[in-house]
Subunit: 193 residues, 2 copies
DNA sequence: GTCTATAATTCGATAGAC
DNA sequence: GTCTATCGAATTATAGAC
């Protein structure tokens, strides 16, 4: 992105930028927006706090860069219509186990308006457009996507943030068993007449 | 609680205490734990910031008092077995529309360990014991309660915190229509063999 | 490009007068 | 019981030396 076209060698500053971003993701995920300090992030990245400001301008700017997130939703046109829910749950679980970004976004969205706005964007744009591929009417599509988001985010919230014991202890396959039918019905269920 | 037995007249301090608590709930609900300052809460309650400290000792103590929450779950033994999900969704929606306490707890649980602990207590104790009334095996009961919590908290999170447009626009009856079958299955569905 | 020093706020908490 | 005054700590952000 910032690297000049004539250079193949990554610049020193790019390494530093990446280290800052990685540390920021971990801190925001663990502590939330307010408690994650620039000082702590800089210490984790083994650099001076002023470097963070130099590269990202402000704390908000840093969060904006660290919380960039793509759901990477798969193409659902090839999926058997009866297994949409199952595919989606599996995808989400795989997508955010081992990646702190969504947890960071989830924690920050509770208190930071910008993070909430980004959250709305992710689930309103990315998810809605995927749901729309097997088109229904427009406002119904939005509601189906919203309902899917409510169960998916509730799953993430109870498992990764609040850490409700039973939700932490269930292994992915058991979660799929229970939650897949829910998403399936939200996606393809007959709406109220 | 603090009023002496021989007095029927509420003391002046009790009025102040209640005003502080009300302002605290609103601020914690609107801003989260870190951004809600004692100074702002005191200003809302039209008293001096030092009074808050005098009555509640610390910010954590104030939050502990303001975030006390009882789900007030109804007795489910008289409910037709096929309508458990519907009754529960209706109860939850009615319980927290117009009461800031759960929203405050929800926002704070993302960043404050004590709030998360309290959240676990509420949904592990209160909800689990209700689910246990129509007894199944113990670890299954805990999992059913956890799954119910995941959908209920996901609903609250998307509707009141992130404010996903479709989740905000749906009226309570439509939410009941979609979510009730989910809870019904989590409560009474046949587990994996 | 990296770091030192520090400005400018803001917050929780305390001491003490009235 | 209520308020004034203030401490001490922590934070983001900036200015500037090397």
């Amino acid at each position: 992105m910032t690297a000049p076209a004539h250079s193949t060698q990554p610049r020193r500053s790019d390494v530093t930028r990446a280290a800052i971003l990685q540390a920021a993701r971990e801190r925001f995920a663990a502590d939330g927006y307010e408690r994650a300090t620039i000082r702590a992030i800089a210490a984790d990245a083994r650099i001076d706090p002023s470097m963070v400001m130099r590269y990202y301008g402000s704390k908000e700017g840093l969060f904006g860069a660290a919380a960039e997130f793509d759901l990477r939703l798969p193409d659902l046109t090839d999926v058997p219509p009866g297994r949409l829910g199952e595919v989606l749950v599996r995808h989400f679980l795989a997508r955010w186990e081992g990646d702190d970004t969504l947890v960071a976004l989830l924690r920050a969205a509770s208190t930071n308006p910008g993070a909430a706005e980004r959250m709305r964007g992710i689930f309103a744009d990315q998810l809605t457009s995927t749901v729309a591929t097997f088109g229904t009417e427009e406002t119904m599509t939005a509601r189906r996507a919203g309902l899917v988001a409510s169960q998916i985010l509730g799953l993430a919230f109870t498992r990764y943030i609040v850490r409700l014991p039973p939700m932490v202890e269930m292994d992915p396959e058991e979660l799929v068993f229970w939650v897949a039918p829910t998403l399936q019905r939200y996606l393809t269920g007959q709406p109220e007449s």
